[in-house]
Symmetry: C2
Subunit: 138 residues, 2 copies
């Protein structure tokens, strides 16, 4: 069970943004800091730009900045936005055809585990994660 | 975030096996019951045969049966075996190169959420899941 690479990289960008305030962060900076490709980060930036949390500024002196308070951005919300769904198995998808569905011990157990996962994530905000990451605190 | 189709189908087979006792269950039966392909189930059967939980019997009257007490088989153990790892992000893989690793708020938050997920799964055994699935109780 794994988050997508896209989610992983998006979280890293958000974590860097959390300590920046109004200072623009560039893709080149993120790519260099983490040693990951700029191509991967283009899509990340595009999606974050549509999230309502991040403003992207085009051009030579462009970059991105957070436009919401990182104290208000919970980790469960961020991951739900980036991952799109939390369908652990077929029974949680619209295309579900499992005939046990609705009366299945396994389905309920997986739903509980998913809730426990999200409840744990919801204890953290982007600001609290940033505070616990010394290397990003300038 | 999703379990693999392989894990999904393996769990369904185990759930059917839990109510069977010594009676052999065939791939054809599982395929028909769930409306899924026999080809997918071949690999499932092979892997379950190596798990030490299931005995497979070859031949025309062959099939599979559980050879451990379903009360002793916890859902977290089953999923860990089937999924192979629980590496939510790069920081939990052997190939990890993230420079924040070891001093990262996000890494710790994800580890906690993964633990909460597994702790919830560990509340269930194959037997308890089977008891909560009326359609499989003959």
């Amino acid at each position: 069970m794994r988050l997508t690479v896209f989610t992983d990289y998006s979280l890293r960008v958000l974590l860097m943004l959390a300590g920046r305030g109004d200072d623009l962060l560039t893709i080149a900076e993120v790519a260099e800091f983490f040693g990951i490709s700029e191509a991967h980060l283009m899509k990340v930036t595009h999606t974050l730009g549509k999230s309502g949390w991040v403003e992207t500024v085009r051009g030579r002196n462009g970059g991105m900045r957070l436009i919401v308070d990182p104290e208000s951005l919970r980790l469960d919300q961020i991951i739900a936005y980036l991952e799109g769904d939390f369908a652990l198995a077929e029974c949680f998808t619209p295309a579900n055809q499992c005939r046990l569905s609705g009366a299945c011990g396994l389905e309920r157990a997986l739903a509980q585990a998913g809730s426990a996962f999200n409840a744990a994530l919801s204890q953290h905000t982007l600001a609290s994660l940033h505070r616990k990451t010394p290397m990003l605190r300038a």
